[in-house]
């Protein structure tokens, strides 16, 4: 294991010093067989138990297990979302947050006085209140058909939350983070074993295609994808 690690580091160092990606062509095949080096620790940083139940149910519904991938929680999409909300992005680190606040028109983009973490938190609470009112149970306890109906209504902007939060803006961030959790580099906690990348055939972070572009034109490109942790 440690030898492998040294090997990868040496390779990277030479690729950087060489300054040309041609060095990456010599990537040893066994590196490709390595799985994620660092699986994130279990448990949640940001999500409360109620929120975690919501998110786990949501990602397993949107990403069911099938011949392509395991289900959303087995891909770590829930973990990805928790880490994203706990981190700088969730705290609004690149968001202009000065008032005054006005709803504006959709063409003017995001105008809520909420950082993403607070939007998520309040959106989950509002969705659960809506579910209890409509179906008698919170989101994680309603049946699959009702879950599907609710998500479609959220996606279509047909749900009106009590308290004034926009259900459409909430679902926008939900959808974005589920997709990120499935397709971002596994180093962020989702896309476990690069299953999202394998599902579509994305080749990951090492791409040296000057010859491949000709050799594999209109042909299937072989090989397993590599993530950041595989070559760090």
């Amino acid at each position: 294991m440690s030898e492998d690690n040294f090997g990868r580091r040496d390779f990277l160092k030479s690729a950087v010093i060489g300054g040309a990606a041609a060095a990456t062509a010599s990537l040893p095949a066994q590196v490709a067989a390595q799985s994620n080096a660092a699986a994130p620790a279990a448990g949640y940083i940001f999500l409360t138990p109620e929120e975690a139940a919501f998110v786990e149910t949501l990602v397993d519904h949107m990403i069911p297990a099938d011949r392509h991938t395991p289900k959303g929680t087995d891909l770590g999409v829930n973990t990805y979302i928790d880490r994203a909300l706990a981190g700088g992005w969730g705290k609004g680190d690149r968001l202009y947050m000065q008032g005054p606040w006005a709803p504006g028109v959709p063409e003017q983009g995001y105008q809520l006085p909420l950082i993403p973490a607070d939007l998520y938190r309040n959106g989950i609470a509002a969705t659960n209140r809506h579910c209890v009112k409509t179906y008698g149970k919170p989101f994680d306890q309603v049946g699959e058909t009702q879950r599907e109906e609710l998500l479609k209504n959220l996606d279509g902007g047909k749900v009106v939350f009590e308290g004034g939060l926009s259900s459409r803006v909430f679902f926008g961030i939900v959808y974005q983070t589920v997709m990120e959790g499935m397709f971002a580099d596994p180093i962020y906690g989702g896309n476990k074993d690069k299953a999202g990348w394998k599902m579509v055939g994305f080749t990951g972070v090492i791409q040296v295609n000057q010859q491949n572009n000709v050799k594999y034109k209109n042909k299937k490109f072989p090989g397993e994808p590599l993530g950041i942790a595989d070559v760090s």
Binding site: A21, M62, H68, E180
Partner: protein
């Protein structure tokens, strides 16, 4: 408490492509140059090394190399009667920050804008009559011609390792190139990139329908290259992490691997990073600038840096903002139609179709910034009769592969569910079997598209944000309808398994989805101080020792990407400064 520093010969605001070109050229001519860059230092070794740079989430979704709107942004509205609201997160366009600027994370597409653009008003009036141009379309001749820019286009192309195929060498049309380009003295620096499967299919279909496709000219080095200054490039690896990323192979024409390191070695040059310029200062006559004030963003300390010559080299939007904050030149008023600063803000438009071909492998991850076949039949082709469609300008069309990064790139046929098993099936099935045909369209200047200072919102320095008022006008809608039709005609002729057709844009411009970082205008060039902020040498009409670089000097926007003329105008300004202005500082064009 502002610390006043010692006067310098030349002060550059921003160190991207234009600042880098001027820093190299002017220090080599013996001038003392200081560059103030509001962002950090950047190098391939430290910032763009694999695997760290190949992080789709960090760089493409979270815009890590871009300006941070929490510190400074714009307010946005579609028309003057709306309340402008802040662009709270980046979306439609992505201005760069840091040494190298957008030159590190652009795609590399490099065009030579022709006299169709540079003489736009005279040519359209001559061919179609004065009444053809709508009354509110404030287009104007630039005051500079293709013939004047030609040697500087070439200089920039050679510096930036532009790969392509000439279509017009000294007036003789060349097979395989763009037959509608302006005459070139010489071939491109490098031969074109290897074509992708998507481009191959497009080439056949477009040719069969009478169009003239050619490989897109682009600063992605098709092979290892040493430029005339001795800067070394690796060959492009078609890695699919080009736009929004720095290039780990040094294969993308970027200032941080070319002009900037050369300037940095010159003892006449000094770079101060984290130096955020807040104002350009004028003397009591208002006819000369005396320097700038800036804030060291590492500790908040304020400085005055006096200079004999100031050149604005920031991103196009920031150059205009600085002019408005500094009170140089008269702000544009769309109602009275007086003033020039902020006038003629332009953007770009487009349309695209997605084609699905069962059993084909497009390998979208084997892409690069300019890996594209394009046609210019409805843009630089002056023989194309616009009067049938009633618009000014045009669009280039093309197909290629820039990337297959799956957070954003997952094409599926229209009507596919957005999650669940059917979504997964379609996503898995079509990811590698889809391609796009897209159009990039011009935007003509309009009286009501402009910048001014926002009355309400402020940035991290307590200064007013700039307000952008912009929407597409009927001219662009007419072009969109025509071009979407052309795209769909080509697409249908290719007989795809499934087609998401192109549709013409009909609604207002939105700040939300990414569209293009080709923002132009605001400090436009022209023939006299009544219609422009700068003359044909990019020299301020108001203060002759102030020059403005970049696309803010474009009086309108073409379908082409802006970097070709941005680079050419910078090299031309460098020559003018070295050979004329700095020997005898005075207005270069009499007002």
């Amino acid at each position: 408490m502002t610390t006043k520093l010692k006067e310098v010969d030349v002060l550059l605001v921003g160190l991207g492509w234009t600042g880098g070109i001027l820093a190299k050229e002017l220090t080599e001519a013996g001038h003392q140059v200081v560059a103030l860059e509001r962002g950090a230092m950047r190098s391939t070794e430290n910032d763009f090394a694999v695997p760290r740079i190949r992080d789709d989430l960090r760089y493409a979704s979270r815009n890590d190399l871009m300006q941070n709107p929490a510190k400074d942004t714009l307010t946005i509205r579609n028309n003057p009667s709306q309340l402008a609201l802040p662009m709270r997160r980046l979306g439609s366009f992505l201005p760069g920050e840091g040494v190298g600027g957008a030159g590190v994370h652009w795609n590399g597409v490099t065009w030579r804008w022709t006299d169709n653009e540079l003489k736009v008003r005279s040519l359209y009036e001559e061919r179609y009559g004065k009444n053809y141009i709508p009354a509110d379309m404030t287009i104007q001749d630039w005051g500079v011609t293709y013939a004047e820019l030609e040697p500087y286009y070439e200089k920039f192309e050679r510096t930036a390792a532009v790969s392509g195929k000439a279509g017009n060498l000294r007036g003789v049309i060349q097979k395989g190139g763009n037959p509608f380009e302006g005459p070139r003295a010489n071939e491109y620096a490098l031969p074109p990139l290897e074509s992708s499967h998507a481009s191959d299919l497009f080439n056949v279909a477009a040719t069969n329908l009478g169009h003239h496709p050619f490989p897109c000219p682009t600063a992605n080095a098709s092979r290892a290259y040493t430029n005339p200054d001795g800067s070394k490039f690796g060959a492009c690896q078609y890695c699919g992490f080009c736009e929004r990323f720095g290039c780990e192979a040094n294969a993308k024409g970027s200032p941080h691997i070319t002009v900037i390191p050369i300037a940095m070695k010159n003892p006449n040059f000094e770079l101060r990073t984290h130096a955020w310029v807040t104002k350009v200062l004028k003397d009591s006559t208002g006819k000369r600038v005396t320097g700038v004030t800036y804030t060291n963003v590492l500790n908040g300390e304020e400085f005055e840096q006096p200079a004999r010559l100031v050149v604005l080299c920031a991103y196009a939007i920031n150059n205009v903002h600085l002019m408005l904050l500094s009170g140089i030149g008269k702000p544009y008023d769309p109602i009275a139609q007086t003033g020039v600063i902020g006038k003629n803000y332009c953007y770009q438009t487009g349309a695209s179709a997605t084609l699905f071909f069962e059993g084909n492998y497009f390998n979208p991850f084997m892409g690069t910034g300019g890996l594209n076949a394009r046609t210019d039949d409805f843009h630089s082709n002056w023989n194309f009769d616009r009067s049938k469609f009633g618009y000014v300008g045009g669009a280039t069309l093309g197909a290629g592969m820039t990337n297959g990064r799956p957070i954003a790139y997952r094409p599926v046929p229209a009507g596919t569910p957005r999650w669940g098993k059917a979504w997964k099936d379609a996503t898995a099935k079509w990811y590698n079997s889809a391609m796009n045909i897209n159009a990039s369209g011009s935007v003509m200047a309009n009286r009501y598209n402009y910048y001014d200072l926002d009355p309400t919102y402020r940035n991290a320095f307590g200064l007013p944000l700039m307000r952008m008022t912009f929407d597409y006008k009927e001219n662009e809608h007419k072009m969109g309808r025509h071009i979407a039709g052309v795209i769909n005609e080509i697409a249908k002729s290719m007989n795809p398994t499934s087609l998401n057709p192109a549709s013409a844009r009909s609604g207002s411009w939105s700040v939300v989805p990414y569209q293009s970082t080709h923002n132009t205008g605001g400090t436009i060039m022209g023939t006299n101080p009544g219609n422009s902020a700068v003359n044909k040498f990019c020299q301020s009409w108001d203060c002759h020792n102030l020059f403005i670089m970049g696309a803010s000097v474009f009086p309108h926007n073409s379908a082409y990407n802006p970097t070709g003329p941005v680079g050419a105008l910078a090299y031309r300004a460098a020559d003018t400064l070295k050979n004329v202005y700095l020997k005898n500082p005075a207005p270069l064009v009499s007002a």
